[in-house]
Symmetry: C2
Subunit: 299 residues, 2 copies
């Protein structure tokens, strides 16, 4: 089965040249598309890359963009088969279309069922923490260079969960799956809306790395808000039959080294989407970026 | 065989909102990609449409864009299978990726041979004449509304040569083919460069419609310059074995109603690309739009 996905990345909407190098932009433009194919359990194969730059662009900058594309393409076994170049009156504009193949029909967002477990790969909030560091007027103090590099790299050069998506799609038991680009709250909203269900998430279960907590502390921000609303983690959000979670978590860890964490479960649509604190109280959780709702930079 | 093409269209580079409606932009964004597939002799099948607009965009404008896309998609039997939307800090940005299928390997640009005939479908210069009308400070006088509509429609809503491309690709005898997006001079240059040949074109043979001459007269411009350098005609430029031209021209006219005109022939690379006037004298012919060379609007 042929899969196809496309993403438009625009300077000062999706990235800033002040902190994203041309190679970072190239890497990420492909990565967000690879992540889409991964979430369908597919194998990414062929990419078409369109790049528009102001006339003032230097040749080495344009070359560095393609170097970034090729670095991820080589890791993911993707071949760049075509593209387009243009001038832009203002800012960089990138469009990547990625074709992939899947051995099985892709797992959709619309097929979650009441009683399923809601789960997520890896950890959340690193990308938002990285964006906060990149956007901060001064580098935050009180943490190691490793911590800063961990979160900024998560934002600038996300690693799509390709092997994880392929493994999960064939493992049996996964009922719905998507990649986390807009943030847990927004993307779980998409699954619930399209599946006509609600969900219940226990916030204490949301996996947040120590590096994210450290950055949040240094910047006076809230790590959990990044983890639930920040977006661009490109982890996989899925629902699975309750009886299959342990097998899936063990199998995924064994096959890929990536942990799978249960966050809660799928409930009736009438119960809505609720986020519970450690006391079981419902707490409000903001949604991540939604296009045409706010103009702030997405990533 | 799967074919894929992508094109990025940017406001004030490829179109102006002053004279291109959202529906025009939608139509043309798909049309330029259909034309690429047509030039490979393929059948256009599936499109991915990415649109970015400023936050001030009205819903009816965005809807009109997709109406324009769907109007051509319906004619060409293309299904829109995906896409992306985003805010843009300045101006409209459209990216269309189109997948197509070909029964045979596509005819490339790099396979013209010395002795082949150089030929073109339809007529040239209408799109450039239309652009001149659209960009003129006042509507030119002294011609009918039909003439104005003919050339402006050619620019705003080009009709890709899909049936012609498919017919030519299977007819036998065509050695190289591409669509005319950058203009005859630039695109023949591409064929010659990639095929390592030269070419000789008799300018008196270049097909130019009466409407283009009328507009050129009214605006004090040169119709032949539009026909050779104007670009965006989306006619097919091809080379064919000399002995097959008559059969191809008759067959194409019979199958599609579109004329095929011989312009000259393919010569040794050492002889370069020469344009001859009615006296057989070599005359200079400017190339069409080349990205990163000039900043003027392309379309």
């Amino acid at each position: 089965m042929l899969l196809a996905t496309t993403d438009l990345l625009i300077e000062d909407v999706h990235f800033r040249r002040r902190w994203a190098s041309p190679a970072d932009i190239g890497w990420k433009s492909l990565a967000v598309n690879v992540s889409d194919i991964a979430a369908m359990g597919g194998r990414p194969r062929w990419a078409l890359i369109a790049l528009a730059c102001p006339e003032t662009v230097r040749m080495d900058e344009a070359e560095a963009f393609y170097t970034g594309v090729r670095a991820l393409a080589a890791q993911e076994d993707v071949v760049v088969v075509g593209g387009d170049t243009s001038v832009s009156p203002q800012g960089w504009v990138v469009n990547v279309t990625l074709l992939g193949e899947a051995a099985h029909p892709p797992i959709l967002r619309s097929t979650a069922r009441v009683g399923d477990v809601v789960a997520v790969t890896g950890s959340l909030g690193r990308s938002a923490a990285g964006l906060a560091v990149l956007e901060a007027p001064h580098a935050p103090t009180g943490m190691t260079a490793d911590v800063l590099a961990d979160v900024t790299t998560a934002h600038l050069r996300p690693r799509p969960r390709t092997r994880e998506g392929q493994w999960l799609a064939q493992a049996g038991g996964v009922t719905a799956m998507m990649d986390l680009s807009d943030g847990l709250a927004a993307d779980l909203g998409h699954i619930c809306e399209e599946s006509r269900t609600g969900a219940r998430v226990e916030l204490r279960r949301v996996p947040v790395d120590a590096s994210v907590h450290a950055v949040a502390l240094a910047l006076g921000r809230d790590a959990l808000t990044w983890a639930t609303g920040g977006g661009e983690d490109y982890e996989l959000l899925l629902t699975c039959e309750a009886g299959t979670f342990d097998r899936l978590a063990d199998g995924l860890a064994g096959a890929t080294g990536t942990r799978l964490t249960a966050l809660g479960d799928v409930v009736d649509a009438a119960d809505g989407i609720r986020y519970l604190d450690a006391c079981g109280e419902v707490v409000p959780v903001g949604k991540g970026f939604e296009h045409f709702v706010t103009g702030r930079p997405r990533g």
